[in-house]
Symmetry: C2
Subunit: 416 residues, 2 copies
């Protein structure tokens, strides 16, 4: 069996060095490569200057046997990567007819005038294998040079993702005959990383030597990923899955799903299974709760609608919150979110409702209710459940965390 290659990721573009764009491509690539068992040796971000790209390529091939590049494939003159690679690998640019037809098709479809610079996107170095980019105009390119594989992809994230998934990863698997590796992901919520680690310490210590556990924290919880390496025995995946019931016993309802699935998807599946419709009444979350619920394909089968009530007036008129409740308890109170959830249920005629109201910040805090004071509620035909939490890590994270906690409340209540 050939030894596994190290990979270097090279992201190209002055905008990365100026900090005007955050490099999210590398993290996606790193995750996907790790799933194949390939190690990323280094991530290198370089400018759009030809000499610096070449210098980085010379060094990368000394460190790694695979160099994955993104960026610099656009139609404008600061996009140099293709020309640099043609020179680097000593090839002419030639017209790739399938790409030209594809690009022409895109411009026809959108009824846009096709310029010469667009036509040039179908030029590729003669000695590369073209990786068809179904979702954009710049093709990917695969080069093999002295035992090293070089791949160039567009920097636009969804185009890079398409090419990684459909072209690059399968070809790497084939080229390097990567040994089988299995991943089992368990989604937990509501426990911090170190507390979680403590809870499952003995379970983790008893894992077989070929199974590794990784803690992948996110805002509100931790994903647990088991990576199983080939040990020559059959049924690796089944043996890994057999480890889960004892984990489930330790963590109970803190586990919301197995597999790469988002909380809003897990919630959607529960609602579908139970034939329940849902709606939201949102103040501080400003629509993010509805957005997360509706980001799931097919969510129209259970999601009906929402009322975003930023102003108190709308809370009263559209959600039937009692003015006395607002006067006595304030807009950010468990009493108010309870009435918001109940009001929404009645108004929209949905089975279950979520409501939120809080001080997201940076303004609006008071000594009694500082920024980060957040209330949310769940209501169904039988009961209303409310929560108050305190969480302040800035407006954006406060809102995100609140939506996660509200979705989790929905999940917990629906299964009761």
């Amino acid at each position: 069996m050939p030894s596994l290659p190290d990979v270097e990721i090279m992201t190209i573009g002055d905008e990365l060095l100026y900090g005007q764009v955050i490099d999210t491509n590398s993290a996606f690539m790193g995750q996907e490569l790790a799933k194949l068992g390939l190690r990323v040796r280094q991530i290198t971000s370089v400018s759009d200057r030809a000499d610096e790209i070449v210098a980085a390529l010379d060094l990368a091939r000394q460190r790694a046997q695979v160099v994955l590049m993104t960026g610099g494939l656009g139609p404008t003159k600061d996009d140099l990567t293709k020309h640099v690679l043609a020179r680097y690998f000593g090839a002419e640019l030639v017209l790739h007819h399938a790409t030209l037809e594809h690009v022409e098709g895109i411009f026809r479809r959108f009824n846009r005038p096709m310029l010469d610079v667009n036509r040039q996107q179908a030029l590729v170095p003669a000695n590369c294998q073209v990786l068809f980019n179904a979702v954009g105009t710049a093709p990917g390119m695969w080069f093999e040079s002295q035992q090293t594989v070089f791949v160039s992809m567009p920097g636009v994230p969804h185009e890079m993702k398409y090419l990684m998934t459909h072209e690059v990863l399968p070809r790497l698997q084939q080229h390097f005959r990567t040994p089988p590796i299995e991943h089992v992901v368990v989604q937990t919520i509501g426990l911090g990383e170190s507390f979680l680690a403590q809870q499952i310490e003995a379970w983790e210590a008893a894992l077989p030597p070929n199974v590794k556990l990784a803690y992948l924290p996110y805002l509100g919880g931790v994903r647990l990923r088991l990576t199983g390496h080939d040990d020559g025995q059959p049924n690796l995946r089944a043996r890994m899955e057999a480890l889960l019931p004892s984990l489930q016993e330790l963590l109970g309802e803190h586990i919301f799903a197995e597999g790469e699935i988002k909380l809003e998807e897990a919630v959607g599946q529960l609602l579908l299974q139970r034939g329940l419709t849902v709606g939201t009444a949102e103040s501080c979350t400003g629509g993010l709760l509805a957005h997360r619920l509706t980001s799931v394909p097919g969510s129209s089968r259970y999601f009906q609608g929402s009322v975003i009530a930023y102003s108190n007036d709308i809370k009263v008129r559209e959600l039937d919150v009692k003015p006395e409740t607002l006067a006595t308890h304030g807009a950010v109170s468990e009493a108010t979110v309870a009435e918001m959830a109940e009001g929404l249920r009645r108004r929209l005629g949905v089975d279950v409702a979520l409501a939120t109201s809080g001080i997201a910040g940076p303004e609006g805090g008071t000594p009694e209710k500082p920024v980060g004071t957040i209330c949310f509620a769940y209501a169904d035909a039988h009961r209303t459940v409310t929560r108050q939490i305190s969480f302040d890590r800035g407006r954006q994270l406060n809102v995100e965390y609140t939506t996660t906690m509200a979705l989790n409340l929905l999940r917990q209540e629906v299964v009761k």
Copy 2:
């Protein structure tokens, strides 16, 4: 005048290479360094292995005269940076008393037991200058070695930001005297990169030699960034800004702002200036439009509320869409979004309203209205304006693009 140093940013940690953490530190550092006129030559992310950190340092000092490192300064055993640097610069670790007192103070304040690993955070290589970290336990370290400055900072973003702002940037300013560099950003919307480039070709060609133009595309438009280098003449920034009126003439209302500002912020400022309140009636965007509007701090001064109407029933009951309109034109039609926007205006009593309805996909398309058929509308007291577009790049991007186009319609109509 000494020549300008190039900077290399080095972020250290396996979690970056595995893609478990997105490197946002580099972008912050890149932005701040650009403001001082320092060029980032390369960003390098390396593992927690000592030999690989040393190899990266050896190469970095060949490329750059300043090497800024983050990460690997925590108290756990995979945090190696300090030990590697002590060896690299040939120094013993010595106790830094001010840091020890600071760390002890932090543990006292939070009433946490202080472990030996915490005490070790006050050890620093004898030949560094300690950069006091007021917001964390790991100090920054400044080394000078053979004309190169090496700085090590914690990887925790808010600690790195504190040290950059209060220690590193002022010291770099003092250490290197750098001529001014200026960035002017122009936000455009509604033109693709290549079409935009064609529109401003002559303008771009006539730019002074010390001013560079970069195209930074995003979903729905392009940010244009002018970078001006010192040419020995005064008023660089003013001369760059004098280039903008002719750009404005070429691009007209495709320019929505100057400077680093988001579309939703620009829209918010317009609404505030005109004293207008806003609300949204959303079908396909499912709350994202409201979320973007409310993501702006202080948006409660103009944003009132929304109705998310995924089901036709809610469109009729909560937004007064006529059943005949739905029956004749369908839910995804300019007629329906017009009634949604008008209905929301009346219901919520807002000055201006936006509405959306479309087939976000992946399901729900028909031969007449395929996935990506999207309608949106603007309504105020005097008129209703509708648009129909066709855009299909997957559910998530379809929804994002629709919100951007709807916000842009609001911007265009409000200024009329």
